[in-house]
């Protein structure tokens, strides 16, 4: 009896340990980035008992920084107040790993009901998103047709509703400009950047006119430099490249000159801050004069460097360029998981998020100025738009350019550029050899992507 009793006790202890470990693994960690606060409806607005719709729980996920999380949580709280039967569970995190998490969730059937996505993600998750065309209750009349056509559609399906616009911009540090004798009103061309950059580094050896991580150099220096000399996209929809060897050599030579002239901070030093240029000590110490980045990033640069006066200026262009290669991109948007049980409620949430003036005020501009005319007007009337972000978009909108397509933002193609740019930056190859390598790799990769 004693032995049997001991065994039962042992078995009970084993089960208890297993359950405890299982509970700990599944428990939401309060320190985790991905918190899931549950919004519950206050009792203020309740419908009469006989008209109460069935309770609905919507999971909504997005990426961003703290300011975006706060803005969207405020919006969710407002929505929950208006529609008490809807409980919204927010799931948010930084951008690093967001797509990977989303893909895994879609594959495992555990994806949220409503997801914030970017157009560049369509090739991976497009098949998991609901086609919004049949949903007449979704009002997109306040959104420019070009935006819907260029950024919200993929393979003939309306997959998301754009929530904000951004464009590349030139962000100047006015204190640096004063110290180094630069005129704030310079009309920047690519060659002017080199000319002034060389002078500044010669006179102020600890300072550089600009800096950039590998993604910025590829997407905001290299590609626009080349595309402004064409009327093409980077990769055309038929999987042909929009550039030639000569243009590649010119672009890569320019990148090389940025480093050899001292215009750009040495490559190795900037790479410690990939995706976090606002943490670059030289930028924080006002030893960098210009950042080329997307307009949505203006907020984080201002927050990181509150003692400096930063202003948005027009993006650099070649004199007589064929296009600005700086489109207003409405890549970020809100979409619905096609497997959700609550399709109508999800679409209703999107409609409210996009068009409700009160929502626009409460959430502000977490994804840049809204593309919906209704929301934009509400924010303008409330004086809630950052003047520099609006200026950046106005500069970009002044000259027409071709809209980006999904294939051009393929990460494997981007990696090909970045590999050669690195070799150029470290002086390990010539522009000619790098151009040949890019063309060769692109040919092979585009062939592979065509078959998928």
């Amino acid at each position: 009896m004693k032995k049997a009793g001991g065994k039962w006790l042992g078995l009970a202890l084993t089960l208890a340990i297993v359950l405890l470990l299982g509970a700990c693994a599944g428990k939401q960690n309060a320190n985790s980035q991905e918190t899931a606060p549950v919004s519950s409806a206050p009792a203020a607005e309740t419908k009469p008992a006989e008209a109460q719709p069935d309770p609905v729980t919507l999971r909504v996920s997005w990426w961003g920084t703290e300011s975006r999380h706060t803005a969207l949580l405020n919006a969710i709280e407002l929505y929950a107040g208006k529609y008490p039967h809807v409980k919204i569970e927010a799931e948010y995190m930084g951008f690093d790993g967001y797509l990977q998490k989303l893909v895994t969730q879609f594959a495992g059937g555990t994806a949220p009901d409503v997801v914030f996505v970017n157009s560049s993600m369509f090739s991976q998750i497009g098949d998991f998103l609901l086609d919004l065309q049949p949903y007449g209750e979704l009002d997109t009349s306040a959104i420019p047709e070009a935006v819907i056509r260029d950024f919200d559609y993929y393979e003939g399906r309306h997959l998301k509703v754009a929530v904000g616009g951004s464009a590349n911009t030139t962000l100047i540090n006015t204190g640096f400009f004063t110290r180094t004798g630069l005129d704030e009103n310079i009309v920047w061309t690519w060659e002017k950047l080199l000319e002034e950059g060389e002078r500044i580094h010669r006179e102020f050896p600890d300072s550089y006119l600009t800096t950039g991580d590998l993604d910025v150099i590829d997407l905001i220096f290299f590609r626009p430099y080349i595309l402004q000399k064409t009327n093409n996209k980077w990769v055309n929809d038929d999987h042909t490249v929009g550039f030639n060897r000569e243009l590649l050599v010119e672009g890569l030579t320019y990148i090389s000159n940025l480093f050899t002239s001292g215009t750009m901070e040495p490559f190795g030093e900037a790479q410690a801050f990939i995706g976090k240029m606002e943490q670059n000590p030289r930028w924080l110490q006002n030893n960098i004069g210009i950042l080329l980045d997307v307009s949505n990033a203006i907020t984080k640069y201002k927050e990181a460097n509150p003692g400096s006066v930063l202003k948005a200026k027009p993006f650099p262009e070649h004199p007589g360029s064929l296009q600005s290669a700086n489109p207003i991109v409405s890549g970020s948007g809100i979409a619905v998981n096609k497997e959700t049980k609550y399709k109508e409620e999800a679409v209703k949430f999107i409609n409210w998020f996009t068009n409700d003036p009160e929502a626009a005020i409460v959430k502000g501009v977490p994804f840049g100025p809204p593309v919906s005319g209704v929301a934009l007007q509400a924010l303008e009337e409330a004086g809630a738009l950052d003047a520099d972000i609006v200026a950046a978009l106005n500069f970009a909108g002044a000259k027409p350019t071709s809209a980006p397509n999904v294939i051009s933002s393929n990460p494997e193609l981007g990696q090909i550029n970045k590999d050669e740019i690195q070799k150029i930056a470290f002086g390990r190859t010539t522009p000619e050899k790098a151009a040949d390598e890019i063309l060769k790799q692109y040919a092979s990769k585009l062939e592979e992507l065509k078959k998928q």
Partner: protein
């Protein structure tokens, strides 16, 4: 093993879960209660092993013969992934080379440093345990994200190390931003975490018979000769064990390279683990990444086998000297 003896009343044979016995022509089965209880108690581990180790292992082997990408339907493609690996992936050989270089740098350095520290700490001094603890603390941190981020801030151009070197007017070096120094810098992280190996060596040093040291001193042997002829031979089994374990860990290294340098600059730290991650989770070529993983496994298996084969000539065991 079960053994059933026939006869009017056969002896019971014991299997883990049940007994077999014979009564005449009848075979009787009875539950082996003790064995059954044992299985019940280890069942959590068995379930975990089956669900989280064996099943993923078998599935990844299957995926290595497909074009599995999570987002698209999966097709069997035979050995195409393995062919691509050797013939069409421009990062395959460079990544393998970097991984071997990293292993050849990090493993011997860690073994050597751990051994030296163990020798230093193998003394009867007041407070020696405090020093042992201090040297062990880095191992507790492990290869965590936080430590990797800390490493980045120590070794970047404007980091702590260069600030220290500036005190001696040594020019700043871009330790993690220069392709020539980046791999060495991230291998230092592994060397820094020498605590576990140090503890093993300390334990081994305590096992060396004191009579041998005394006899050697009586014969006039110096410290260097004692180290070479007595201490080292006695420690070779532990050295071999740590060599094998650290070799396996180094070949699979991921966190430091991913967090500190993200495989750069110029893929100077593009370890095989980082490559597998990128192919799987950035490019969504899960099938190909599975094939890469099995290739790495095969390489590690082969090299570990070679290590074992070669150990006979230099590893000395107490039971009869050489194996």
């Amino acid at each position: 093993m079960a053994s059933a003896n026939r006869g009017p009343r056969g002896q019971a044979g014991d299997l883990p879960f049940f007994n077999i016995s014979f009564e005449g022509e009848r075979i009787m089965f009875g539950a082996n209660r003790q064995g059954l209880w044992g299985v019940i108690f280890i069942s959590p581990w068995i379930i975990g092993f089956l669900a989280f180790q064996l099943y993923p292992l078998v599935l990844s082997l299957f995926y290595s013969f497909t074009d599995y990408s999570i987002v698209r339907p999966t097709r069997l493609i035979g050995g195409d992934n393995f062919v691509k690996m050797f013939t069409a992936d421009r990062d395959f050989y460079p990544s393998l080379r970097v991984t071997f270089l990293y292993t050849l740098m990090a493993v011997p350095a860690r073994l050597f440093c751990a051994f030296c520290v163990a020798l230093l700490l193998h003394q009867k001094l007041k407070g020696i345990n405090v020093y042992r603890t201090l040297f062990y603390i880095p191992s507790i941190f492990g290869g965590s994200i936080a430590i990797s981020i800390l490493w980045r801030f120590v070794f970047m151009k404007e980091g702590v190390l260069n600030a220290f070197l500036a005190l001696f007017r040594i020019p700043a070096v871009s330790w993690i931003g220069d392709p020539d120094t980046a791999l060495f810098t991230i291998s230092l992280l592994v060397v820094w975490q020498l605590g576990v190996s140090m503890v093993l060596y300390l334990a081994g040093l305590k096992q060396v018979p004191h009579e041998l040291y005394e006899a050697a001193k009586v014969d006039g042997a110096g410290k260097w000769l004692i180290l070479r002829k007595i201490t080292l031979p006695y420690l070779t089994p532990i050295i071999f064990f740590t060599l094998v374990m650290q070799f396996i860990n180094a070949m699979q290294e991921f966190t430091a390279a991913f967090v500190i340098t993200n495989g750069g600059p110029m893929k100077a730290t593009y370890l095989f683990g980082v490559k597998i991650y990128n192919d799987a989770f950035i490019n969504f070529h899960m099938g190909y990444a599975s094939a890469l993983s099995w290739f790495l496994f095969a390489v590690m298996l082969l090299l570990t086998y070679l290590l074992f084969r070669g150990s006979g000539s230099w590893v000395h065991y107490e039971d009869g000297g050489k194996r």
